[in-house]
Amino acid sequence: MRLTVNGEPYACSEGLTVEGLIREKTFTFPLKVVFVNRQLVRKDRFASTVLRDGDVVEIVHLIGGG
């Protein structure tokens, strides 16, 4: 299926969860805010939120540097 992740097209397999996507993208920085179709997904729902074809995902890293 096809997603949009941070503004760019992203192809992935069916059934991918938010947590799985974060792993695939090696987004290892801990402070992140995730929106799927503009809806906030809380951290404790990353593993249970399954993405669907066409979803627009924003993974906002909150890192501001020293």
Partner: protein, 661 residues
């Protein structure tokens, strides 16, 4: 997960969860006087007594420090549990009859007056009930050892050494905030703030966040900024071999888990006494292998991320001991580890590219990864001898020296020498973040990231796609960050710990709750009410004044904001090929070229034209947003609106530099 039943309600918890936490998650109240999530459980007051039944026998335990490890039934209000609680509370009520938390918990078990009188009866509503929370928080949380219990039995009490406030007490108020009775109050603050309580409340909120959240966020208390090594490597941002690449297969050898065991843990911050975040780490007992102190064991302040990457990966060095040793000698000699790391990376690339050789370095092998060579140059630098005397002059002068004396190609040196305005770059690869190229290039004192750090916003989150978006970020963040400097505050507490509800704040990158906290701090200190915009305005005046000062000193025009191409894109063929897919994609999608039909040299040249042009467009957008001329100088209208036109000679200086009405 373990299945437990609390008052007949089933729930699943992770092993190790306390009964108290599990009950609270279900909304079942259990009184608890000596418990706080900010400190280790203690089990002192016993009011949290509950009855547990593991199927074989029933017994009374304290809920706050009983970790669940197997299926269990918990009864929080069985006759036995309430009986124990009643005994405990009656004792307390007799001794401290007017303390609110005690009265409430006592009423809950049917007690209003004790049946006996206590010899140490204390009528105060804010009596100390000896829960120990303050003592433990001061030790475990603030990492101070100011408070202690003194005396035994009935004469036990909380005290400070010799009964007075020692200098180690930083007045953080963590103890007063955690106190369930209000027994701790603060005397007058010697700094005479307009309203000390407002400052302390704002500070206490940060303390709470750091103690509760840092462990699962940035782990600044454990590893300081060193956690960034692995993060930057994962995102292709870690400088490797003079910023040629953003990741290295051996980066794990200098990751934070290698530094954590050698960092002293659980002690005061090395940078600001009493800072809860305490990210300034130290290595104790490092055995020096080189230099004048060889053989001695020393204390080393650091290394931080910039040192680990600048004197590590950027030099191809992946040995923690070597990084610690370089850190020590830089401090010892009064050198900056960032400038040293970055200039050595330049030297090493020159060595590998043939601009330097053994003859020119006086026999020192300076290929990437050379630990001995790096340390030798460092020691020579301090002594003002040999090749160290040349390297110690920094990249800007080395570029000239290498071209004049060694016949090196000045254009190549300009491309790979990571300096601007004469200052060496700090340790991030910015090739894929135009906004950060600007953040470095426009920064008043040269390419350091103290003003703006926008790499993730720009490159990963893609939150600031247009030139205008980037210019806005390059207005807001440098102004906001300047404000910390104006007030002598550290920025890390602003965004290296994040409140629980930050995601819902509407502007999470700005951490609005913390910005409001800083307004509180400012108002508490000065007595002047301020809103977030006011803080930006304060900075803008100073920032623009500094830009004009730069102009006066010969550094404040557009040409001074130029940056080396290494920070914008791939200088060498090898660099291009290492991320060929990425660069080809940009040529195809943004430049409109067809990389399949181009030679490598053509592709490099086309990409370079495109990227350099975008940098110029960025400068245009930023200057416009800031109210500057296209030459990067504040306009007369701007300095007037900020009120800095009153500075003697300022307007004349602008006019002399071609700024017209």
């Amino acid at each position: 997960m373990i299945e437990v039943t609390i008052d007949g309600r089933k729930t699943e918890v992770a092993p190790g969860t306390t009964i108290l936490a599990a009950a609270r998650a279900l909304g079942i109240p259990i009184p608890a006087f000596c418990d706080s999530p900010m400190v280790e459980p203690y089990g002192a007051c016993r009011v949290c007594s509950v009855e547990v039944d593991d199927g074989r026998k029933k017994r009374i335990v304290t809920a706050c420090n009983y970790p669940l490890s197997k299926p269990l039934a918990v009864l929080t209000r069985s006759d036995r549990a309430l009986g124990v609680r009643r005994v405990v509370l009656e004792m307390m009520l007799a001794r401290w009859p007017n303390v609110k938390v005690i009265r409430e918990a006592a009423r809950d078990v049917g007690l209003t007056e004790p049946r006996f009188s206590h010899p140490k009866r204390n009528e105060s509503e804010s009596a100390c009930i000896l829960c120990g929370l303050c003592v433990r928080l001061c030790h475990e949380g603030v990492w101070h050892r100011v408070l202690a219990f003194e005396g035994r039995g009935e004469s036990r009490r909380v005290s400070m050494p010799y009964g007075k406030q020692p200098p180690e007490c930083v007045g953080c108020m963590a103890c007063a905030n955690v106190c369930p009775t209000g027994a701790i109050r603060f005397a007058e603050d010697p700094n005479r703030p307009a309203n000390a309580d407002r400052i302390r409340r704002a500070g206490a909120e940060l303390t709470r966040e750091v103690l509760l959240l840092d462990g699962s966020q940035c782990r600044m208390r454990e590893v300081g900024t060193a956690h960034l090594v692995e993060i930057m490597n994962d995102y292709d941002l870690l400088p490797v071999h003079n910023y040629r690449f953003g990741a290295h297969a051996e980066a794990h050898r200098i990751a934070s888990d290698k530094f954590k065991p050698i960092f002293s843990q659980g002690i005061d911050d090395g940078c600001a006494l009493g800072c809860d975040m305490a990210c300034a780490k130290a290595v104790e007992g490092h055995l020096l292998r080189t230099g004048p102190d060889k053989g001695k064991r020393v204390l080393v302040d650091g290394p931080e991320y910039e040192t680990a990457s600048g004197c590590g990966s950027n030099l191809g060095i992946f040995e923690p001991w070597a990084i610690v040793e370089i850190n020590y000698y830089c401090d010892h000699y009064g050198l900056d580890t960032i400038s040293f790391g970055t200039l050595m990376a330049f030297v090493m690339e020159c060595f590998e590219a043939g601009a330097l050789n053994l003859e020119r370095t006086g026999g020192i092998d300076l290929r990437f990864g050379s630990i001995d060579g790096t340390l030798e140059v460092l020691h020579q630098m301090a002594r003002g001898e040999g090749f160290g005397k040349i390297a110690g002059q920094g990249i800007r002068r080395m570029k000239r020296i290498f071209a004049e004396r060694f016949g090196a190609d000045p254009a190549f040196l300009q491309d790979i020498g990571m300096e601007a305005k004469g200052l060496e770059y700090s340790e991030y690869v910015t090739k894929e973040s135009l906004a950060q190229q600007g953040g470095y290039g426009i920064a008043l004192k040269g390419p350091q990231h103290d003003e703006a750090w926008l790499i993730f916003m720009d490159m990963v989150n893609k939150q600031i796609p247009t030139f205008e978006d980037k210019a806005e970020a390059l207005h807001y963040f440098p102004m906001w960050r300047t404000w910390f400097g104006l007030n002598g505050l550290c920025k890390l507490l602003w965004n290296d710990v994040e409140p629980e509800d930050n995601a819902e704040s509407g502007a999470p990158a700005k951490v609005p709750r913390h910005v409001r906290g800083y307004c509180e701090f400012f108002a508490g200190m000065t007595g002047k009410e301020v809103a977030p915009e006011d803080l930006i305005a304060q900075s803008e005046r100073v920032y623009n004044f500094q830009r004009v000062f730069n102009l006066k000193m010969g550094f404040g025009r557009r040409r001074h904001d130029a940056i080396p191409y290494r920070s914008q894109g791939p200088v060498t063929a090898e660099e291009y090929l290492s991320r060929e897919e990425r660069y080809d994609k940009q040529l195809r999608e943004e430049v409109g070229a067809d990389p399949a039909t181009m030679t490598l040299d053509e592709k490099r040249a086309a990409l370079r034209r495109y990227r350099e042009d975008r940098y110029e467009k960025l400068l245009d957008a930023v200057y416009k947003r800031r109210g500057w001329t296209s030459d990067g100088i504040p306009t007369l209208a701007k300095v007037r609106s900020l009120g800095i036109d009153r500075v003697e000679g300022l307007v004349d200086l602008l006019r002399a530099n071609g700024v017209a009405e």
